[in-house]
Symmetry: C2
Subunit: 305 residues, 2 copies
């Protein structure tokens, strides 16, 4: 399992649901820490309307900063989330290398988010994705609410597979399935990814689980056992609004990497650096993060004593 | 997976590491709540020296109470942990139906706990277990530190299998593997239980994982996929001293059962009642429990709204 790829989303999915705005300089430092830790992909932010999500209003500035020759990371890809063509324009202007964009498998969720049905949103995303590919960029297309929806409840697997088939027909094989509401459970994850690989074994699957009901890492393992190699996670487990009724922390990047390293995988990633960042996040937001390893400490450190 | 068996250990493994002593009447009520919730086995306490572990000093009284005809649960087994012959004598005097007893696979841990090497402790436990079986009781023998030791580090799988072979040769096939230090990771769990079932497919395997590094439920799923049917867990995830350097909450019973019910298994267990108890534990100890579902609420409840 040495080919597992880690995509850290704490600067986007983590920060977007926080009330507190993180100063630009601090975001730069946190991004640098993620880059130095050696995760594979760092999501810097999303290109949404700055009035709607003020926490993401400096995403362009962040990309501009890291696009400068002297700040550009060598072995780490920087990704940005876009929702539509407007976001793509902004991303093109500030040198985004990898775009993440997607639709919700739940019509209710899709309409609330975008004002469009899932079907209309899928066509629009495919068109935007094609534009990004023509511009020579990496693109990851996604299906949100792929394992259940907070509004609709169960989301039929066939709905998700239908969207994936459209992506594949349009030539997009880097596909992420996000458990937006945290409903996924391991047997479902196994069934889903087996069905996805049945569509096309060459699909590069990413998964993104929330830990709402405690199953984040169990779902990651189910996905890994089904052949998934790309994982979106968040340092500290940051993510999900702490003020909602249903807390929904992300899978913690350092917990997942710590676990991978127990079996000798991804020992090149500096978990200790991720732990430092998790502690900084806890200090900044003045509350405990959902991650466990930053609290328990590294197993290897305990054994040294 | 409808044949998964839940053994709740919050009244023993949960309470034994707390500073605060729980009044007898409260323990009775919590035990009644666990029984009413419909978990299969409830561990009431351990028969250790009352001066050494004062939290467990009323274990005999608890068993006496539930041994009375009017309080005796109908469909739930009550288990008690014993460390030696003295504990067995006490257990026999107060009507224990199921004994849990074991040895540590780590010599250092074994000597610290019992003053004996693993080998000597194994012989002694087998002798005590045989005595309990002769008295017509259920016995579960265990291997502690089966996946790693806080003192010794890695514990060779062969050491664990050696103890299991001795148990099986002595006629004991109800065997629990406990991840005392929380070191287990899913690939290791899979390998371990596959090797255990290679010794004898008829072994009734129990697993007991701690969530020290976040892998509790992921390890449960690895064990379940390898064929394990018995799970020890703790309501609220209570367990592991909150004052140690390495916090080590148990797998939360309600989180695990909530997850099983997502795939239609063990829908007979009242998770809502377990959530009530988890909230009572949090209120009594005046801190958040490690479990997630008692905080997030039941998924089925969210979908009703």
């Amino acid at each position: 399992m040495n080919n597992i790829i880690i995509h850290d989303v704490c600067l986007r999915d983590g920060l977007q649901s926080e009330q507190q705005i993180v100063p630009f300089e601090k975001k730069i430092r946190w991004a640098e820490e993620l880059i130095a830790a050696g995760v594979d992909i760092v999501q810097l932010g999303s290109f949404v309307h700055p009035e709607k999500v003020p926490q993401m209003s400096d995403t362009d500035a962040l990309f501009n900063y890291f696009h400068e020759e002297e700040h550009r990371p060598k072995n780490v890809i920087l990704s940005g989330l876009v929702l539509n063509e407007k976001g793509l324009e902004r991303g093109e202007a500030c040198g985004v290398e990898m775009y993440c964009m997607g639709v919700s498998a739940s019509d209710t969720h899709s309409r609330k988010n975008t004002g469009m049905s899932t079907q209309d949103a899928t066509e629009r995303i495919i068109s935007a994705a094609a534009q990004a590919v023509r511009a020579g960029k990496r693109v990851q297309v996604s299906v949100q609410s792929a394992f259940g929806c907070g509004f609709e409840g169960a989301v039929p697997q066939e709905r998700v597979l239908g969207i994936i088939r459209k992506y594949v027909e349009a030539g997009f094989k880097t596909i992420s399935l996000a458990d937006t509401a945290g409903h996924a459970y391991p047997e479902q994850v196994t069934r889903m990814f087996e069905a996805v690989f049945d569509i096309d074994p060459a699909i590069e699957c990413t998964c993104h689980f929330h830990n709402t009901y405690g199953l984040g890492l169990a779902n990651c393992y189910a996905a890994m056992n089904a052949g998934v190699k790309y994982f979106e996670s968040s340092t500290g487990g940051l993510g999900g609004c702490p003020f909602t009724k249903v807390p929904s922390g992300n899978v913690s990047t350092e917990d997942f990497v710590h676990s991978l390293q127990r079996s000798g995988s991804r020992t090149d990633i500096h978990v200790d650096a991720l732990i430092v960042l998790a502690k900084e996040l806890a200090a900044f937001f003045n509350r405990e993060m959902p991650g466990l390893v930053y609290k328990s400490g590294l197993l290897s450190e305990h054994l040294k004593k």
